[in-house]
């Protein structure tokens, strides 16, 4: 059976988030991930796209976004790629999140959720080409 692939090229706008979640859900399910793991992948991609919308592009300007999914061995690899400003999200610890929550602040929650949902989250920037968030999750049986 051929390995399913995902290749979305979209306008980077929050109006596309619901559609992105649906496409990613269908893709992750087709890759054979258990339901809970599918939910994790959907949330992680949503958070990565939200980061792009918040940090890579100026509000209101048309911008491009790519979401690429592949399967490599027993891993699903999702790349969220933008062509805007470089941004370098710092890793966030559980202690930092708990401290923020006691002040009712949400700073870092998205990055924290991505880390919790995936086995690996990596950011990289290819100068004058693109920035991307690369997220990996192992496909374990139900």
């Amino acid at each position: 059976m051929p390995t399913p692939e995902l290749a979305l090229v979209l306008t980077a706008t929050s109006r596309n988030l619901a559609g992105i979640r649906e496409r990613v859900r269908n893709y992750a399910s087709a890759c054979g991930l258990p339901v809970m793991a599918v939910d994790d992948v959907v949330l992680a991609v949503d958070e990565a796209v939200t980061n792009v919308l918040r940090h890579a592009y100026a509000p209101g300007k048309p911008a491009r976004l790519e979401i690429i999914g592949t399967v490599a061995g027993d891993r699903i690899v999702i790349r969220v790629r933008d062509f805007g400003r470089k941004f370098s999200p710092r890793p966030v610890t559980e202690a930092q999140i708990q401290k923020a929550l006691t002040r009712h602040q949400s700073h870092g929650l998205g990055r924290f959720l991505m880390k919790k949902c995936m086995d690996s989250v990596r950011y990289r920037s290819v100068p004058r080409r693109y920035n991307e968030t690369v997220m990996i999750k192992h496909i374990s049986p139900c």
Partner: protein
Amino acid sequence: MIPFSLQVQPLGAPGQYVIQVTGALDMKTSQELELACQPLMQKGQGKMILDFSRLEYINSQGLGVLLQLQKQLGTRGGGVVVAGLSERVRGVFETTGVHKVIGVYATAEQARRNDPLFAKE
């Protein structure tokens, strides 16, 4: 995928509301929730139950609005609690620890009866 909608119901006492949130809370819809809450926050202390029994999905932006509401309302004796979380939405609360700083109840009615926020003064 259920479309996003909000339904606001007064609880009887001034400044107290139940807000039923349907669909998903993401970057786009969280802004809509925040906007809908702004005029309600001008009335009384501002005590809100967010009924999530029809909420399918929440991300960090949705949690951020809840925390912001709690922060703003808490300074004047008000606050926000949530009710009716699905397993998945509850999982996001528990993964982040947000359930430790915002009251979580099985139903809106339980929240109204049991949370100190809504105790008769």
